[in-house]
Symmetry: C2
Subunit: 600 residues, 2 copies
């Protein structure tokens, strides 16, 4: 059985050499992020992931969370693990010191989050949602709400949820029907009464924490139709007394059932029913959707990171099996039965897993660092520049890393052969878990629409072109290299960024929205592949320098260059084809009538 | 809830216009395959699939087969469905009249098989394995074995299995350890005693039929090592009396357990333990592997067809949901909430599902017809020519259709959004079921090795070049078209076949086996995509002719041309990239040491 080992060497390489941790640490408020502190945090997180979360991942999947009479019991070991999570202060890592947080940079928190998710995705969803809720309350909530809720949530003794979806309102939140009616009460003060049904509520009910803070989208009676009439409410499971302690009175927000899902079985996905539940307005009425997007952007980044995390875990499991399973003879050397890692096609699959995971990790961490710069840079121009990059890349990190994560988890099954199809092996769980990531927090189609519409067309391609320039700047670095692998990589990257540039021009120049959106997902995939190739090229270039000055771990540096080369010929190579699909693929998309689809 | 409707219109189009059913029907012995008879068979099969098998597909998945004390109970409804299957004579369709079969062409049986598998893949595996066993006994068994077993198996009252895999012997059958010792007995006559453990035995134990005929690979005591020392034995669950009736004595072949799998839950996957079980030699000693390949080739084709079948079913389910689910507004027309099929990205996904399913179906049926020609043509040259094409294409049909089938089933989940992740929706089952198809009967890596090694390198690319010529011949037809879609398709097909041609030259010219095998799977994918594109181009060309002469269903013909165009820009477009991976991708595959894979 494979056990999780955090890829600390690669994580540190990415943090130091690609994401610019040293520069991040110089930002105001991030002085604590010294190399020693960051190392210590990563080591501790790695232990927590391997020793506490990894051992309950498969058992949690098999057992699943169980609903009974409105209560949800999480699988064996989850409660204790969550207590240890709280005790160690992991939830407080990225939060503001004002609320008891440690105020560490996003890029450091990202590496920690990757480990927790790799070792146990179902577990990690509870903190993920809590972080999102903290973020929304911090940015949009009143001082009273902040004071009452944030301390407990940062500590982790209360958890948070996002209540968006209703049966008729999924991607289309304009259709939300849950109602919120103003009310007043001597003890409760000004509040609202919330009524309606929400579905797909991750950790909407559970036994890990003493309270659950639901953030709920609903409409007041006089609200305008559509997305402009949605407000955000905080609805606690147990009402909080004025002194901050928990009342015994249960709010009328109850879990009617949990879903029977393909994956993330340990994570309870609740159907929530609100019946005149007490809720408090977050921010102003009718601005709920904008607030929700605050949570959503962070959540989208985190879901993208889930793609990286599952890929890493699936890779480690497949690698362990490939080194141990004896089957077939070496193609050239013959004679004895060898571990299957000696077979070129198994190696190709492992390299696809490894190279793409590294590319996705590098891009995610670089975007996380950009979030830090966008928040803390002293220059407003720098903040803006970084924010534009972050906005451009969030749908790419989310869409590309999750789509690729599914492919990698599926390759993980394939490396195991027949054993991969047997649940006890564990490889199938990663595929089942990964399958939700391209759906929740906005499907890949939604991400791609965001990318081509809001992030590219709206500013006439300015942010995208700024990024293209940055990639083109790297070319002069690569041109100086005499290394054959880097030369090959350079050629593919240059074709790749040209493909992106063509597609940006195409999107900016096309007036027919249907044409633009017909190619949106292939475009997103192209962006991801090329952005990943950009990071692999940066990495290879750094490694070449380290090798020539004989600094550091030469085996690691050689491996990184070879991995980048593989990525170029097996992944980046798809860029021109994707460009052609974006530019000329719309014709076939809209041609059929609805009836012509089925020729039964 | 979506229900299965056989795509009879497309099936008949492919049979008539692409697979040449009229020519097949002229072959000796196939006189019964008149248009009316074939239509009637397809209609009946379609009803059986929709009315009997489809309704127990989801329930069968949820319930699963259950093992208890060595016996296996299949899910509710399976036994009755199997009785109806036998009563209707579906199992006898492709079998020889000598054994009670109807002797219909493979290409007709293929269309029927597609329907049974689309509606219930778990159910279909029992007949699939039985057909393979019939085939092996027919070709390699003694007259006595044929007489005793074939009639009952063709009728379907006895079923068949393939017992190849052992815990240490999966893809590498040289490692088989099961033993067979010669024995004699007054009642049983000359036989062998078989001892060993076999795993992953599909329908190795079940309650559908009164007897199970296991075909088992084992070694005699004096057999040479490796694959040259493997023999094939027939081991019945219940011994058969000399008069052909079943004895009450159970053979010592028992099912020790069944596996807990990702998918095909209704299909029991048995661990079989043989302890001095009575077995009969099939053919000669030490030739078992060659015989097994007879079964395997047919089984590989059938598994490829599973890719087509699941794709069709997943497509139908996604299409029904996309037409019914209201969410979001039309990008251009705005105003009211529309069914999601109006959104370009949903339509793109549906078109990916539809176009690839049609391309895969066309290729599979054309290969099935070639099997008929290879068996029954009066000219030996024709038989040889068709056999070479079949041999070339079997790994392509198997590998490409199954890999694509997984992608299509996954797209089916995606079209459903959050509902796709909920098991009750049914979309997830197709993904779980599809996931085995790239593994059993030889993984995609094994298929690709077969393609580049045995099917291309061995004959210096002769069979591949013959096929390339056939594709190039179509170009002059396409060149005559004034249709913009066909023109675009022509350009992509021409790039595609050039890519194949480059890769064939590369494989034939490369001496380093590791280099050839490193690109084998991308090459297989390329072959599949281009072979599918070839069929879509043939189809488009036929449809253009029908349109210009105003014959037949113009809506269907228009849709086919638009679908072919879509396929060109979204699928065939990947060919040059795949070529580059095959030709220059080996460098990165073998570069790392085993230790360099993990940088923990």
């Amino acid at each position: 059985m494979s056990t999780y080992t955090a890829p600390l060497k690669d994580m540190k390489f990415v943090l130091d050499e690609l994401a610019g941790l040293a520069e991040v640490a110089k930002l105001p408020g991030y002085g604590e992020a010294t190399p020693d502190t960051v190392d210590a945090i990563l080591e501790e997180a790695s232990k927590f992931a391997s020793e506490i979360l990894d051992p309950i991942n498969y058992s949690g999947d098999q057992e699943g969370s169980i609903w009974k009479d409105g209560a949800v019991a999480t699988p064996k070991g989850f409660k204790q693990a969550y207590q240890q999570y709280v005790a160690a202060g992991w939830g407080a890592l990225p939060a503001d010191a004002q609320w008891g947080g440690q105020g560490l940079p996003k890029v450091v928190a990202t590496a920690v989050e990757e480990m927790l998710t790799s070792s146990n995705m179902s577990f990690s969803l509870c903190p993920l949602l809590t972080q999102g809720a903290i973020h929304a309350i911090e940015l949009c909530g009143s001082e009273a709400l902040k004071k009452t809720y944030l301390g407990k949530m940062v500590e982790g003794v209360w958890t948070g949820t996002m209540n968006l979806t209703e049966p008729q309102a999924g991607s289309d939140l304009a259709l939300v029907r849950t109602k919120a009616v103003r009310a007043s009460h001597p003890q409760l003060g000004d509040h609202y009464r919330i009524s309606g049904q929400k579905i797909f509520i991750t950790y909407g009910e559970h036994d890990l924490a003493e309270n659950i803070v639901h953030l709920v989208l609903a409409r007041t009676p006089e609200a305008p139709e559509g997305v402009k009439g949605i407000s955000l409410f905080l609805v606690p499971k147990f009402l909080v007394r004025p002194d901050g302690t928990l009342g015994e009175e249960r709010n009328s927000a109850r879990c009617a059932s949990i879903e029977h899902k393909l994956g993330i079985h340990a994570s309870p996905t609740a159907v929530m029913v609100f019946e005149d539940a007490v809720g408090y307005l977050v921010g102003e009425e009718n601005k709920g959707l904008a607030y929700m997007f605050v949570m959503m952007n962070a959540a989208r980044f985190s879901v993208g990171l889930e793609g990286v995390s599952i890929s890493e875990r699936a890779f480690q499991r497949a690698l362990a099996y490939a080194k141990e399973r004896l089957q077939g003879k070496d193609l050239v050397e013959g004679a004895k039965t060898v571990p299957i890692i000696r077979h070129p096609d198994v190696r190709r699959m492992l390299m696809l897993m490894k190279s793409q995971t590294e590319a996705m990790r590098a891009l995610a961490y670089v975007v996380a660092a950009a979030m830090d710069f966008s928040q803390k840079s002293s220059s407003s121009e720098e903040r803006k520049r970084h924010q534009a990059f972050v906005d451009l890349m969030i749908p790419v990190v989310k869409g590309w890393s999750t789509e690729t994560g599914i492919e990698i988890a599926s390759l993980g099954v394939q490396v195991h052969g027949g054993m991969g199809f047997i649940e006890e092996t564990g490889a199938a769980q990663h595929l089942r878990d990964a399958r939700i990531t391209t759906i929740y927090e906005g499907t890949t189609g939604i991400q791609a629409g965001d990318l081509v519409g809001r992030k590219i067309a709206r500013d006439g391609g300015a942010a995208a072109k700024a990024w293209i320039s940055a990639v083109n700047k790297l070319d002069s670095d690569l041109a100086r290299s005499g290394n054959a692998d880097i030369k090959a990589l350079r050629a593919r990257l240059s074709q790749g960024i040209q493909a992106v540039s063509d597609c940006v021009d195409f999107v900016v120049g096309t007036k027919d929205l249907r044409v633009t959106f017909a190619g949106a997902v292939p475009f997103l995939k192209l962006m991801g592949i090329v952005a990943g190739g950009w990071q692999m090229a940066r990495a290879a270039s750094v490694c070449e320098k380290r090798l020539s000055s004989r600094e550091g771990d030469s085996s690691f540096h050689h491996a990184k260059i070879a991995t980048a080369r593989f990525y170029a010929d097996h992944v980046l190579v798809q860029a021109p084809g994707l460009r052609n699909t974006v530019v000329s693929g719309a014709a076939g998309v809209m041609a059929l009538t609805d009836e012509q689809f089925l020729a039964a």
